[in-house]
Each structure stands twice: as structure tokens, then as C-alpha cells.
Amino acid sequence: MPEHMPFASRRGLLFGAAAVSAGAVLTACTSNEPSDSKDEPAGNNQPAADDKPGKQVTIGFAGPQADHGWLNAINDNAKSRAEKYSDVTLEITEGSNDTAQQIGQIETLINKKVDVLVVLPADGKALTQVGLKAMRAGIPVVNLDRIFNTPQAYRCWIGGDNYGMGLNAGHYIGEKLKGKSGARVIELAGLDNLELTKQRTQGFDDALKNYPNIKKVARQAAEFTVESGQAKMAQLLQAQSKFDALWNHDDDQGVGALRAIEQAGRDDFLMVGGAGALSAFQAIKQDDGVLKATVLYPPTMAASAIDLARALGQSKGIGGLAEFEIPSSLTLYSAVVDKTNVDQYMSTGFK
């Protein structure tokens, strides 16, 4: 193309320079470190199964990309727990949501001959084969939360209880609304594409069946993001001019939901959250809004997974149980955190 044009005019250069300097000023603004606060990693306060140093264990850890507060907390919990033990070396891979990439990372850890593997798969079913491969290579696998297709692919599974989350949220709301006839409840669910959302809803519905005075009148699914939480909650509030309780599946989208509630000027109901974010704990403690409780899906499970991996590497059982071996499966309890016990959980809250 014989199109002759100066690459950049003088005006263009000036403008460009201005833009670059504006950029330089802006880069100073990307910092997220508050001037004087040190992030206390959660999950450090609980006693470990056995604190006495033993045989050296190298633990390989592979998780998904930490693009969500909860997943970020998973990584932090694993790292800080491993640092606590003088006899544990943690080989942590860069998180990835790409199944092929995560398989590659785990295979690298197998080739490095780590003693134990802790795997939080981006997709449990898709990573079953590599779990099997590790087990066949004699490396015990601790499967974290998102479960493999077959128990042959892991030595021990530890994870949260999505059904239990819904169940406990339902029972908490049921007890609070006891004796109120014709009580109306609404549900702000998470991403409907995920099986865990269906399980949470199922648990919630099953719990509410115990309370004939309560009727679930509406349910909308957000996407675990603040933006979607605000949008869906605003619509729900418009749709339901009167209701008594709300269960929101996820505290991250709950930030948006609370914003919508505030914008609509509504305070005539009780809200229960889910997961256990720090901002939710703080709101519960302050007790000046609708959020009265949240149901845990504890990210401390990553710290426990490190404990289990260490015990496996040292061929020990876990304290408090009579067995010589650690269990093959551990489902964590989805505790309800409200004003009465929030202080205890504050340090486990994630941002």
C-alpha cells in the first residue's frame, strides 16, 4: 500500500508523552498495601495434629488460578501452614484454570518425586487420570475439595459440604422465623452452571421443609461476582416487596447484594451469607445491617490438607482418632457464624 504518512506527528508525540506521564503517575496507584497492616494468614491459630518435628516431607501443591477471594485464601492457608512445620518443604505450582496445564504441572511434581501431593483441581473429573498416575507412582494424593471421579485417584479427600451449607442456612433461618406464620424466604444463588450451586439449593430446600410456616417465594442466580450480586439482588428486591429472610450463597457476591439492599433502603428482613469472607464477619460483628450470619465453606481446609499430607508422609494417624491411619474422606462442617461466635472465626475470614 503506497500510503505515505508520517508515523507520528509532533502533536501526536506531545500527546503520547502526556499519556505516558499520566501512566507513570497512575502506576503509583496500583498498590493495594495499606500503610500499616500485615496480612495475618488464616488458619494459624488452630492446633496442628502433631507439632513435633518428624521425618522430612516434601509436599507438592497444585491449585487453580486464584481469581476469587476464596481460592486466594486457599493458597495462603496452604503456604502459611507449611511454613509452620520445620519438617515440611512445599513445592507449590503456579495456579492454573487450564486442565491441560494443571495436568502438566502435576506430572512435573510426580517426576520430581515429591513425597505427597495435594491437589485442588480446576475440574475434578478432568484431572482424575493424573491423580491415578500419581497414586500408581506411589505418591499418596490428598484431593482437596473438588473431587476426582474415582476413590482410586486419591488416598484422602478433604473438602467442604455444599449440601450442608444449604441445610445449615435453612435451619438457621427456620429457627429465627419460628412461630411466624406465612413467612417468606428468598434465595440469591451462585453460578447456576456449577453442580455445587444445585447442591446448596437442594440442602436449603430440604431444611426449609421442616418448617411448614416458611415458603421460599423467589430464587435468582448471580455469578459469584459483586457486579452480578448487585444486579440480581436489586431485581429480587423489586420483585418481592415483602419477605422475612434471604440466603445468599456467596459473600463475594454478597458485597454487591448488600449494596443493592442499601440502595433500595430496605432493612425489613434478615440475611444469611455463605463462605465466610472477612467483610461479612465484620458486618455481622457490627450488627447494624441486615446481615446477621454466614455459613462457612472454610478455606482453612487447605491448611488441614497440608496437615494430612504431612501425616501421610510420616505414616502417622491424626490426633483424636483411635485409628493408626488417616481417614479416606473428610467432609468439613459448614458452621453458622453469627454474632455469638464471630470473634472465633474472624482470623479465618478472607478478602
Binding site: 447456576d192 430464587r219 435468582q220 461476582t225 452480578s228 436489586a234 420483585a239 454487591g256 449494596r259 433502603g265
Partner: protein, 339 residues
């Protein structure tokens, strides 16, 4: 190689550099028919909403709600319309909104208060638009590729800044703007910004040389060049404009959601393109209206609202949305071709 000869056109006239100059009047008329058919679709939706949920749907608060929800994506769509009219595409709008909204809500930025947040959101948007524009106009990159690259890097940078955490806004003046107390004569400030952007966008596209150049570049870039239009600079400005709209939208989103998150603006590119297309903007460039695009946004937001009020779940919502896009385009085409 000989250049295809086009008649030299004076860029100051109203004519689009097309083979059939009288088509301009026809286009204007047909655009009106298109707008009418969109209004018809919207009227049908309002009827459905009014019949199924009379109390909740036909309510001032609901009107405020629908318009507020439309504001963020609406501002993005105005910018997108300009880009598509010029024959380009901007796939990075959602990612730019995400990057601008997290950059503007970091702890460091929030120390500068309202002005700091607004300034950062707008400048980050414009900066990303500048990079897009330079790559496309002077780096001769295909818009699809250049903005796809921006989509990936801006999302990555947004994730890096937030570390996956939700950045809650604590500046009261920003938060107050999204509250009911800030409404002027019942109109939320976000909606006012949306309205102002729409009016300016309409004026620029229809009443200025810049707008005519945009249409000319989209209709036939070679003819536009021969007519004396600096096509490259025009393209640079258009992606800058889209970036600016994303920056403004990011600020609106910060006000609306009271926070910044790297997941913000998820799939905005598709929503904005879909709204522009059902609004009658040609994906190949050379034709498009701001009014149509804004009506497209309002149609989508109204559909979402009606579904939510009727407690329909997201699977049904998605199926119906797809069907309505097809129906709207078919209806439009029919009304446009029979006149």
C-alpha cells in the same frame, strides 16, 4: 496495480461515499423505520411485564432500576457503536472496564478520594483505548486481533492488581452517588450520565464532521482516504473514544457496586455488540445509530428485569434471550425491507 477510482467527495457534504449517493435519504428513512420497530419490540416487552407483574413492573422504582442497570453497559455500547460504524470491533471493552474499575479502587487510589477514583478510571480507559488505536491505526493490526490481545492483557493486569480480592470502596462521596438520596427529580445520577453520553454520542455521530468521517471510513475506507480523510487518525480517535466510554462506565460500575473486582465487566463485549446489532448497526460498518443501540440496551435490560420479576431461572433466561435477539433482528429486517 491500479487504484479503484472513486469520485472525489467533499467530506463536508452529507453524502456517504457510496456508489449510490441518493441512498442516503433512503437510509435515513429506513433507520427511522428500524427505530420504530425497536420501539415496537420494547412496547411488547413492557406489555408483557405489565400483564405478568403489574404492581412490581409498572412502578417508578422499577423504571429507575431498569435505567440504572442499563447505564453501565449503555455507555460502553455508545462507544462500541462508533467503532462498529467505522468497520472495526472492540473486543476489549469488558476487560478495560475491569482494569479501570480495579485500578481506580486500589487502596492507594482511594486515598485521593472522589477525584482520584474518577480520574484514574477515565485515564486507564483512555490509555487502553490509545494502545488499541495505535496498534490498529499505525501498527496495521486487525481490530479483532489487537483488541483480543488487549482483552487478555487487561484482564490479566486486573487480576494481578487485585490478587483475586474484592476491593471495597470506602470513599463516602463515591458511594453516596449511588444512593437514593442522590436522585435529582427522581432521576439517578448514573442514568443522567448515561443520558448525557447518549445525547453527545448522537450529536457527534449525526451532526459533526467527526461523525460523517466515521461513517465514511466504515462505508469505504479507500474512498474516504481519496476524499482527504486521514483514515488512520480517525481510527485512532475511535478506539480512544471507546476506551473513554469504558473508563466512564467503570466509574459508574464502581458507584453502582461500591467496589472494584477483576471479574467486573464480564462479557460486556458481547452484550454491547449484541445491543448495537439489534439496534441496526451494520457489523461491516458504514451504518449505525446511537438511538438504535441504546434501544437495544434497554430491550436487553427490560428482558432481564421481566424474567427476574417473574422468578424465571437463568437457564430459561438465556434461552429466551437468544430467541429474542433472533426475533428482533428478523422483525426489523422485515419492516425495513417492506418499506
Amino acid at each position: 496495480m491500479t487504484q479503484p477510482v472513486s469520485p472525489p467527495l467533499d467530506s463536508s457534504t452529507d453524502k456517504v461515499p457510496e456508489a449510490r449517493p441518493p441512498a442516503w435519504r433512503g437510509l435515513l428513512f429506513r433507520a427511522d423505520v428500524r427505530t420504530l420497530s425497536l420501539l415496537g419490540v420494547l412496547a411488547v416487552l413492557i406489555l408483557i411485564g405489565g400483564v405478568t407483574k403489574p404492581d412490581e413492573f409498572l412502578d417508578t422504582r422499577n423504571l429507575q432500576l431498569v435505567l440504572t442497570q442499563a447505564s453501565v453497559i449503555g455507555v460502553v455500547t455508545v462507544g462500541m457503536t462508533f467503532v462498529i460504524v467505522s468497520g472495526g470491533i472492540d473486543l476489549s471493552v469488558g476487560a478495560i472496564v475491569a482494569l479501570a474499575s480495579v485500578w481506580a479502587t486500589t487502596v492507594a487510589t482511594q486515598e485521593y478520594g472522589f477525584a482520584g477514583i474518577l480520574f484514574t478510571a477515565v485515564i486507564v480507559g483512555v490509555g487502553c483505548g490509545l494502545v488499541n488505536g495505535v496498534l490498529i491505526a499505525y501498527g496495521a493490526m486487525v481490530p479483532f486481533i489487537a483488541t483480543l490481545a488487549m482483552l487478555a492483557s487487561a484482564r490479566g493486569l486486573a487480576l494481578q492488581i487485585t490478587d483475586g480480592k474484592t476491593q471495597i470502596v470506602t470513599v463516602p462521596s463515591v458511594l453516596d452517588l449511588g444512593e437514593r438520596d442522590a436522585y435529582v427529580l427522581g432521576i439517578p445520577p448514573l442514568v443522567m450520565v448515561f443520558a448525557v453520553v447518549t445525547v453527545i454520542g448522537w450529536l457527534v455521530l449525526n451532526r459533526t464532521t467527526f461523525g460523517r468521517r466515521t461513517v465514511a471510513v466504515g462505508g469505504n475506507p479507500e474512498a474516504a482516504r481519496l476524499a482527504g480523510i486521514d483514515v488512520r487518525r480517525q481510527r485512532l480517535y475511535l478506539y480512544l473514544l471507546s476506551g473513554l466510554c469504558c473508563g466512564i462506565a467503570a466509574f459508574l460500575l464502581i458507584v453502582l457496586a461500591g467496589s472494584g473486582q477483576n471479574t467486573n465487566g464480564n462479557l460486556y463485549e458481547l452484550d454491547a455488540i449484541a445491543a448495537a446489532i439489534i439496534g441496526g448497526t451494520l457489523l461491516t460498518g458504514g451504518r449505525g445509530t446511537i438511538v438504535g443501540s441504546v434501544l437495544g440496551v434497554l430491550i436487553f435490560t427490560t428482558i432481564t428485569n421481566i424474567f427476574a420479576l417473574n422468578n424465571l431461572q437463568s437457564d430459561v433466561q438465556q434461552i429466551a434471550k437468544g430467541a429474542i435477539i433472533v426475533a428482533a433482528v428478523l422483525v426489523q429486517r422485515r419492516t425495513a425491507s417492506t418499506t
